[in-house]
Amino acid sequence: MSFLQPILLAALPLMALPILIHLINQRRFQTIRWAAMMFLLAANRMSRGYAKLRQWLIMFFRMLAIAGLIFAISRPLASGWLGITAGGRADTTIILLDRSPSMRQQSPGTVASKLETGRQQLVNTLNMLGSSRWVLIESTTNVAHDLESPDALLKLPSCEPASASADLPAMLQAARDYVQANKSGRTEIWICSDIRQNDWNAESGRWQTLRDSFLEFAQGVRFHLLAYPQIASGNTSVRVTEVRRVQTADSAELLVSLKLTREGDTVGRISNPSGTSASNPSSKDGLENRPTEVGKQTIPIHFEIEGARSEVVVEMTAAQFELKDHRIPIERSRERGWGKVSIQADANPADNEFYFVFDQPTLRQTVVVADDPQAARPLQLSAEISPDPNNRGTAEVIGVEQLGTVEWDKTSLLLWQAPLPDADSTKTVQAFVDRGGQVIFFPPKSPGSDEFAGVKWQTWTESPEGIPVETWRGDQDLLAHTQSGAALPVGQLEIRKFCGITGEQTPLASLKGGAPLLARLTSNRGGVYFCATTPALGDSSLATNGVVLYVMVQRALASGAAVLGNTRQLVAGDPSGFAGENPATWQKLAGSNDSLSTDFAFHAGVYNAGDKLFAVNRSLAEDHATVLPDGRVTELFKGLDFARVDDQAGNIAALIQEIWRLFLACMMVALIVEAALCLPKIAPTATTPAGVSA
């Protein structure tokens, strides 16, 4: 129970008034000399059961009436989730609004999304509660804005849904900074979110820091979580995985690969016996939604290429469906452009569209810096031979001293089999990496003391009989499994010589004994890899058993090529994707009409800036509706003053409502009952007959 005027609860001791009056009344007794004591004594000896109970009941109902009155004027709210807001109005109320695409999800039978419902509920609730200052921190910019009143939540464009994922720890960090900078008094932080794992980053170490810093605030910070954890039933999302433009003799085609994912299918769940969900702890405590086998579903997929529409109908029998290289003929003259894939409306409209851009494939240019010709040749070959006959690659072998002649703007991959670059060269290579280029370092014949980003070569280790590769990461990066799921034949490699690697790196493959074969360095953009051996015949079978080397190099090359060119696929709100770009100068070609030009980076759509085309879409994580389990959320706020309520999209019932009428009614009932109990007994009709003779 919470109250809008909790200060009035201080009057609750007035409940003791009937007792006090009773005691005072007892004190105000009259004294009388009395003859008929024998009757009084007899009356005292008699059972007082009901009479005593009646007295107690009268007292109780009088107290109840007073309590009812006090509670009524304290303006109670009919929801326990706010907790007692002792101390009255908050000094500052900070609203953290999750605008991520998943918040656009609607409940069955309603048209209001989670975000709309949450905003409306916040407006209703916060208007009722009141505060001296209102601050909004929305999930795209994570910057605190002052609001005039909670009503602004319904009008502000910055409260409309966006395509960018939220970063709750960053939002809380902004809130913390605000509280610290403004030295606000008692602060209430309202979080409106659907508590998706990707928005909350529950595993992030920032949570611990945030908890500690909020606990340090002496004025007290109170957290309210307005959660919408429901998972959409039968929501399908569409995501374009690849777009290629191919040119045939007389025409051009666009090969579009896409993936449909169906989530939260309650049909599948309901058909399961209820016992299974109870016996499965993961589905019990976590709201994690795993794709389940569902019935057949026909889904029409609409394509729009530069305004030209086409449709293909697919049958979806499982939770995932993949359409590979769907051919869409385009004008032969159209070398670059944009398109949109959309499916029919479902529970979440945010994931029914996906934008893409296409262009002629960029030249796959590789620079090989090698001091060992034996090693350089396999590298050059693996880089030159392109998997796409229409897009040939070039690889140029140069020496270290020729670095200055390289056209870095057109280079996608740098293969470095030489002593690590010196200071000048390091700058050049680092700039290349920061732009998005890929580098794979191979060990030189004589490793020096130079280092790159804190990593350097150690000494060579020889083993003529060959060292097998023990482990490698098949889930991601250069050695990932193929699209068909087959593992690369990394285990078949024979490593006869390898050079140790020291420094901070992440091994992607390890030799027997633990030495890394392939390692990746941490970088903001681009990719920096260290391969512990060379393709030279005496060093390893990388060249003779060329699949691994070829795949490795081609994958790195593809990544490096992706950042070149005039078209780019971007993830909404991902700052690394926008490096060097100014979204404010973009022009919108397609996308939501609601977005402001300054917010293009956070809204899905196709934008152009000069010659460049950008397709902005939601992040991949948005398609995986993993909701944080309740226990985990509670853990995140452990030690803090935290209250949570789960709401549903489209809920029109107010979260809180004043219920003083109920208490007033209670008071009246109590008074009536008290009056009924106080009614004197009907006096016996035969009153003291005068002088009755026996």
Partner: protein
């Protein structure tokens, strides 16, 4: 008779004169020592024929019924009922509880009026009057005598009687049953705040001694109604512990106890054939006495 004396506060001559019209009768034969208006268990010289009895030597020849002898040739003596006076013993409770009165008159004052009037009426018709004041024993006792000067003594004692002390009515009644030698009219004026079961023994004891017993139970209207509103502290007028009570709370049980007591009294007086009168002291004592006297005239003559 009272001309030369200061008028008693408890006597009203006009009331007495009106009451004098009705004689004070005994319900049972009395053993007086002089002739009076009351039936006697003995044969006497009244005009009322009683029976014939066979002559035995020694009988007064003047009382032989010669006519009977002439008809039957047997000697019979003709006997007549004796009329005698009665001895009226007034027993007045002077315990502390008799000092209570909420209507401007206390129970002891009311008792004085009744006792004084009855004493006057008795002496007026030639009966003897005695008085016993009872509290925690016999406080004052005046033996029955039939002269007017004695009546003054009785009035004096009545006037001086002070209500104080506990009631030992039961013990005193037993004592009186033993000490009053001859048949007498015993009028007990009290509030009878005693267990009726204990009174039963006293009454039966008195009955066994062939006394004619009348009882006036004096009760105050407040005692009957118990119409208090505020919490009260009741101090026992006979020195017992004080009782604190919330009248609203206790009234119904008080009434229950009172009604039980009255019902018990009624039962006892019916069993013991007591001439019982429950009197609320806001009643006019003249009417009470008139009712008493009239009821007795109707039941007189039992020999």
């Amino acid at each position: 008779m009272l001309a030369d004396r200061q008028p008693r506060s408890f006597l009203d001559t006009s009331v007495l004169s009106r009451l004098a019209a009705v004689p004070l009768m005994s319900r049972r034969p009395m053993q007086g020592n002089v002739s009076g208006r009351h039936a006697s268990p003995h044969r006497g010289a009244s005009v009322e024929f009683a029976e014939y009895r066979k002559y035995v030597p020694g009988d007064d020849l003047r009382r032989l019924d010669w006519r009977a002898y002439g008809r039957s040739d047997r000697f019979y003596v003709k006997e007549f009922e004796a009329d005698t006076n009665l001895r009226c013993c007034l027993v007045v409770d002077t315990s502390g509880s008799m000092d209570f009165g909420s209507t401007g008159i206390t129970k002891i004052e009311y008792a004085r009026k009744i006792a004084g009037s009855l004493g006057y009426l008795a002496v007026q018709q030639g009966d003897a009057v005695g008085l016993t004041c009872v509290a925690n024993g016999i406080v004052r006792s005046v033996p029955p005598k039939r002269n007017a000067a004695h009546l003054m003594t009785v009035f004096d004692v009545l006037e001086q009687a002070k209500p104080q002390g506990e009631t030992q009515l039961v013990a005193v009644l037993h004592e009186l049953a033993e000490t009053i030698r001859q048949r007498a009219l015993i009028v007990i004026i009290s509030d009878f705040f005693v267990e009726p079961d204990l009174l039963r023994g006293c009454f039966q004891h008195l009955r066994f001694r062939k006394h004619d017993i009348s009882a006036f139970q004096l009760l105050d209207p407040q005692e009957l109604g118990f119409t208090f509103r505020r919490p009260m502290r009741f101090i026992d007028m006979e020195g017992g512990p004080a009782v604190f009570a919330e009248p609203n709370d206790i009234a119904d049980r008080y009434q229950k106890a009172l009604q039980e007591h009255l019902a018990g009294m009624k039962q006892v007086v019916l069993e013991s054939a007591i001439d019982y009168h429950k009197v609320s002291i806001d009643e006019n004592y003249e009417q009470v006495l008139m009712r008493f006297l009239v009821s007795r005239t109707q039941s007189k003559g039992v020999r």
